[in-house]
């Protein structure tokens, strides 16, 4: 079965070339174009590392025009943007993000809490009726509920630290692997008009919902005002990036600095010296 799936997928992959070609912006013959030196962005960690999986490459794009311009090429670390896409880890992360802040307020009253029912409704023997000790027993209509939900029920739990890290790398890899990751030089757009950014997203086929990520949490004024009213275009600083938001949005747009910041932060966690300290807080055995 898996062989069959594999062969089908490899064939499908061949078919998809046409689709990709349709959306790729070929260099048009435009005499007005200003010749610029293409940017090749590479980090120290990529230069020094020895990888089995080659560093990933992605176009560096712009936001200041509606049609896409390729400003250069960016190298991405294969352990961050080319990790194994673990769908199960993604699911565990998403479930954790949904559950840890969820408090269930469903509530029922037990037989003790329902009003009344202190008196024995009728004598034990002699009436030919079933024996009962309280009119609020769970067997009675209007009685208490046995084993019902009790409020508040917290569902907080902690996912292991490195499962969380792996969730981030998996999500970034999935976005990269499905061409839903775009790197731009910065988030500067020329106007505050929401129409501009809507047009841009439509033209570039970025899907309805887009998540823009930059390093600082104070974003450029124009993009803030332009996306303010549009609920499916969201801005997020690097420190807020999470698996849930990445999967919620169709397209992830990172600035160059943000991509490097994410890379360095994740590499720190993957290679950190005192990993015992970060995992210790949530260990069950605190001895």
């Amino acid at each position: 079965m898996s062989f069959l799936l594999r062969s089908i997928l490899t064939k499908l992959e061949g078919c998809s070339v046409g689709r990709i070609a349709r959306f790729s912006s070929l260099v048009t013959e435009n005499n007005d174009a200003i010749e610029t030196e293409p940017i090749i962005s590479i980090s120290e960690a990529i230069q020094q590392g020895r990888f089995y999986e080659k560093p990933k490459q992605v176009w560096l794009e712009n936001l200041d025009t509606i049609e896409e311009k390729k400003l250069g090429l960016m190298m991405l670390h294969p352990e961050v943007f080319g990790a194994h896409p673990r769908i199960d880890i993604l699911h565990q992360n998403v479930r954790w993000q949904r559950m840890y802040k969820f408090v269930c307020y469903a509530h029922t009253k037990t037989r003790a809490e329902v009003r009344g029912g202190g008196r024995k409704p009728w004598q034990q023997k002699g009436l030919g009726r079933a024996r009962h000790g309280s009119i609020r027993s769970p067997l009675w209509r209007g009685g208490g509920v046995a084993h019902g939900p009790r409020s508040p029920t917290t569902h907080f739990y902690m996912l292991p630290f490195y499962t969380r890290v792996l969730g981030l790398t998996s999500a970034l890899t999935v976005k990269f692997g499905q061409d839903d990751l775009h790197i731009v030089n910065d988030l500067e757009i020329p106007t505050t008009e929401p129409g501009y950014i809507e047009d841009l997203v439509y033209q570039r086929n970025w899907g309805p919902s887009v998540l823009f990520v930059d390093v600082p949490d104070i974003m450029p004024k124009n993009i803030t005002l332009a996306t303010d009213e549009i609920k499916h275009f969201n801005l997020m600083p690097v420190y807020g990036l999470n698996v849930y938001s990445m999967l919620k949005h169709d397209t992830l747009v990172l600035t160059e600095n943000a991509a490097r910041e994410i890379e360095s932060k994740i590499l720190l966690q993957l290679n950190r010296m005192n990993d015992r300290e970060v995992t210790k807080k949530f260990r069950l055995n605190q001895q």
């Binding site: 080319g82 194994h84 896409p85 199960d88 998403v94 692997g177 839903d180 169709d250 015992r276």
Partner: protein, 294 residues
């Protein structure tokens, strides 16, 4: 099996599969077992406690209780060699082969004196002082392969370990750390950030005073001349030529020792280290100097 495998296969599959979203991800089948109570008529009959006996009454027996038998832990007489085991000092072991591995993989710089702080800084050796851990016990596993020339300071070492280190032209000293000093050594950055003065190291208690002041165990309170003599004696006993440290190019490093009151190399007790300003504050008063020296 040919074609793409593993990660490469997964990535090429992703390219043709629909977009991964919140709606189409799932965990591996069978990875999560939910323990649920039946909701039908007899779902909560025993409230999860089972039927009959100890389980139903939820009278959990004390550990070791054998339902009326003379328990195993009471069957034998008192064994006094475990007396006070919860008060005795422990020395978590570190083998010579591990030490060699730390040196080989750049976790320890052998060109500088190695002490407990350097070993803990590797992040691969841990002690917990509040569990009565009092430092490192260097064990002789891998003594034959050990080739490092080191100036090492440990808390406990056996004769073959001392021989293995001195054979390579190294120096070993056994020193004692008290609880307060151990806490300072455990995480020096955290300790300096507290803004406290580096404490003076206490002298060893009576039960290990002999160990730390005898030359055979290379105690730090021993007479250096006697230590020199014992080095020769050990070389003859184990049959190796003792390299002369005086002629060694690393003589300065090998002859570096701490004061019995000193915890960190190069930093005296009583000093305060300010990490923010990269400065060291040193007290000027004579009574403080005297206090920290004695």
């Amino acid at each position: 099996m040919s074609g793409k495998q593993g990660r490469e296969l997964a990535l090429s599959m992703l390219r043709v599969l629909p977009r991964v979203t919140l709606a189409n991800i799932r965990d591996n089948p069978g990875s999560r077992q939910t323990k649920k109570r039946g909701r039908a008529q007899h779902g909560g009959d025993y409230h999860g406690a089972g039927n009959k006996g100890s389980g139903q009454r939820q009278n959990y027996m004390r550990p070791g209780y054998e339902t009326g038998n003379n328990p195993f832990y009471l069957r034998f007489g008192y064994e006094p060699y475990y007396k006070g085991h919860h008060l005795r000092r422990q020395y978590p072991p570190l083998s010579l082969s591990k030490l060699q591995q730390f040196i080989d993989t750049n976790r320890i710089d052998a060109s500088k004196p190695i002490d407990l702080a350097a070993l803990l800084n590797t992040g691969l050796y841990h002690i917990t002082p509040h569990m009565k851990h009092a430092g490192v016990h260097l064990t002789d596993e891998g003594a034959d392969e050990f080739q490092g020339k080191v100036n090492i300071e440990v808390q406990w070492a056996s004769e073959p370990v001392i021989a293995a280190i001195e054979r390579n032209g190294g120096v070993i000293t056994t020193t004692y750390y008290d609880q307060q000093s151990l806490h300072a050594v455990l995480n020096p950055r955290k300790f300096f950030e507290k803004g406290e003065a580096i404490p003076r190291r206490m002298l060893p208690p009576m039960d290990c005073l002999e160990y730390y002041s005898s030359a055979e165990t290379r105690g730090y309170l021993a007479d250096p001349e006697k230590v020199c003599h014992e080095r020769l004696v050990l070389a003859q006993k184990y049959g190796y030529n003792l390299p002369k440290i005086e002629e060694d190019p690393q003589y300065e490093m090998l002859s570096e020792r701490k004061d019995p009151r000193q915890i960190f190399y190069g930093l005296e007790p009583g000093w305060v280290v300010v990490l923010k300003d990269k400065a060291i504050l040193k007290p000027k008063a004579d009574y403080l100097k005297e206090f920290y020296q004695n």
